[in-house]
Symmetry: C2
Subunit: 354 residues, 2 copies
């Protein structure tokens, strides 16, 4: 029997409420498709862990989760307990970097039953992927300040891009575009304003495109690209972007499809040298944590992406279909989507549909 | 008679087509409200100028436009002639910096007659300002590359924020919020990912807020803020942002109100030590240049902002009302707004309405 070892990290806030529903659906899929999940749950990478241990992760975190087949992650961050730049950099960002999960993959798809905030769009109209560089770029922690606390204070932070880092994410994105029917790729740039790194990004895109003659491509500056997500979302197929631009686009894209509450993401190490991590795009939402009303769909959909990555593509597709089947029913949706279900009933409904 | 000396710079592409319509309406306003405009037109800050002189501006550009009361600017850039990072950095960005136009003010307003891409929104629902820091931050040109042309290439660009730079834009934004009925300010941040400059930005916002106890404020990370522009645009009143984030938000905001084709902007030196510059948010649009179909509304609305800045507030408001009066009529709108007018007829209609 095929067995997958999964590291389960619920994290903070609603992460702890939606992860169990994600697992419920994953286990239903395992039964149905004849594979086994070996689950190990960890309490680190959470603000409560930090308050107890004064660090986000144990010393040996790499040994403890580094040989799992994948990481099933909830959400981390609770600003009233620990500042975000400590909790997130000490866990999620560290996983992404040290496990070299350089491709952050986020589907943007208009699902049935979700009222679309854009006028006149129907399911099928919006269906693309944002591919985000996930390790370098604008998220470097290099920099500092001079004359702190004075009128003359100057604060500097460096954006660092490498040819290796850019080329491998572009290759990933072009390969994805090549597999999709429309075979089109869009690059997010800002070479008219960010005058050193972004022109470099552009030249690497041009270069990489030569190796994919069957893929058409274009580029937009990030400001007008964000505008087109609203005005012409049907234009996109695969959008590749730097760390920061990808972060923005992969919240904006799901917003255009109705709610970021259901968007999943994969933090992928394509070479499979390290475990990849699957998590909802939404955060830990301290404001609604503990009330049992969090929307579990993003976590469940992340599970589908995880199965797909593990090679259980049929099971992954079946979970997405189960989500699509359940979403149109108000009584099976959580309140954020205008429904009356709670986290558990919404999760059970999808497991049952499967 | 009150006289204002205006430097007129049409620039490239459709800039040359919409600036004359902007002037038509400005002159109509001058006649009606009893002031005079002394106009000096310049051909520099355009790609054609660059092709002739191998630079975007003459040596003495500061003397030639530095003592005008304002600059009425079209658009610059034509990538097939001159790369954007040369044409824009050699003109527009230089004006912004050397004339210390540190406040970029961009209204986001749903206008009558414009179909809104967001479902269920009506004029009045969306009405806020984006205040963008316009001189520093992510748009620094400091950085470079090592090992160029090799596999090991690393490219670095620095984001530089100063206390002076942040504090003065925050003060401008808080003062604007104070003047508006809702007295609310939203700060765009990304302190959970951009770990040095953005936490610093946040502390300056907290500090500045103390001087404006009558203004309520909140902050959002840029990713979720972009999402809320789509999901809850009625939530915003004044949004203050760094150079890059402001750039993105001030295209995204107008997109959410139907078309960035009509959005104006002011590049303002609040201390009035240098002329402020007023320009449409849209660019030079080489693809439709020369066809006489460019939408002149953004240029005309920019003229209204310019008059407001010059103290002719009544005239400025009258132009905005004239725009609002004309927009609902299809035959007076350009094709980008589903109308049948050309640039000149659309401009004349607004001048007539005035
Ligand atoms: C053309 C470009 C450099 C400019 C900017 O990014 O500032 C433009 O997008 C704007 O918003 O005025
Ligand atoms: C929480 C934050 C650091 C993170 C990011 O910006 O990468 C989040 O927004 C995301 O998109 O996963």
């Amino acid at each position: 029997e095929r067995t997958y070892r999964i590291a389960v990290i619920p994290g903070d806030g609603i992460g702890r409420e939606v992860v169990p529903e994600g697992l419920r659906v994953l286990e239903a899929a395992a039964r149905k498709f004849g594979f086994r999940l070996h689950l190990d749950e960890f309490d680190f990478a959470s603000c409560d862990y930090y308050l107890k241990h004064n660090k986000m992760l144990p010393e040996d975190w790499k040994e403890r989760i580094g040989s799992h087949d994948a990481i099933f992650f909830g959400a981390v961050g609770w600003p009233e307990k620990v500042p975000d730049h400590i909790s997130l950099w000490g866990s999620l960002i560290q996983f992404r970097r040290e496990f070299d999960q350089y491709a952050n993959l986020r589907p943007v798809r208009l699902m049935p039953g979700i009222p679309c905030p854009l006028a006149g769009r129907a399911p099928g109209d919006i269906d693309f992927f944002v591919v985000r560089e996930n390790t370098e770029g604008e998220y470097s922690s290099i920099g500092g300040s001079i004359f702190p606390g004075t009128h003359r204070e100057v604060v500097i932070q460096e954006t660092i891009m490498t040819r290796i880092g850019i080329d491998r994410i572009l290759k990933f994105a072009f390969e994805l575009a090549q597999k999709r029917p429309r075979k089109h790729l869009t690059s997010a740039t800002k070479s008219n304003g960010i005058s050193i790194t972004m022109p470099y990004w552009d030249t690497r895109v041009e270069e990489m495109a030569k190796s994919f003659p069957d893929v058409t491509w274009d580029k937009y500056h990030i400001d007008i690209l964000a505008a087109h997500f609203v005005l012409n979302p049907d234009r996109f197929n695969v959008v590749v972007a730097s760390n920061l631009f990808g972060d923005i686009l992969s919240d904006l894209g799901p917003a255009c499809t109705g709610t970021i509450g259901i968007a999943p993401s994969g933090n992928i190490n394509p070479e499979r040298l390290f475990p990849s991590l699957f998590e909802p795009v939404h955060g830990s939402a301290p404001d609604i944590a503990g009330r049992g009303i969090a929307n579990p769909v993003a976590q469940i959909w992340s599970g589908a992406m995880m199965l797909d990555h593990l090679g259980e593509t049929e099971a992954g597709a079946a979970i997405v279909r189960a989500i699509e089947q359940v979403l149109p029913h108000k009584q099976l949706r959580t309140p954020d989507m205008g429904g009356t279900a709670n986290t558990v009933t919404a999760g059970k409904a999808i497991a049952d549909a499967l």
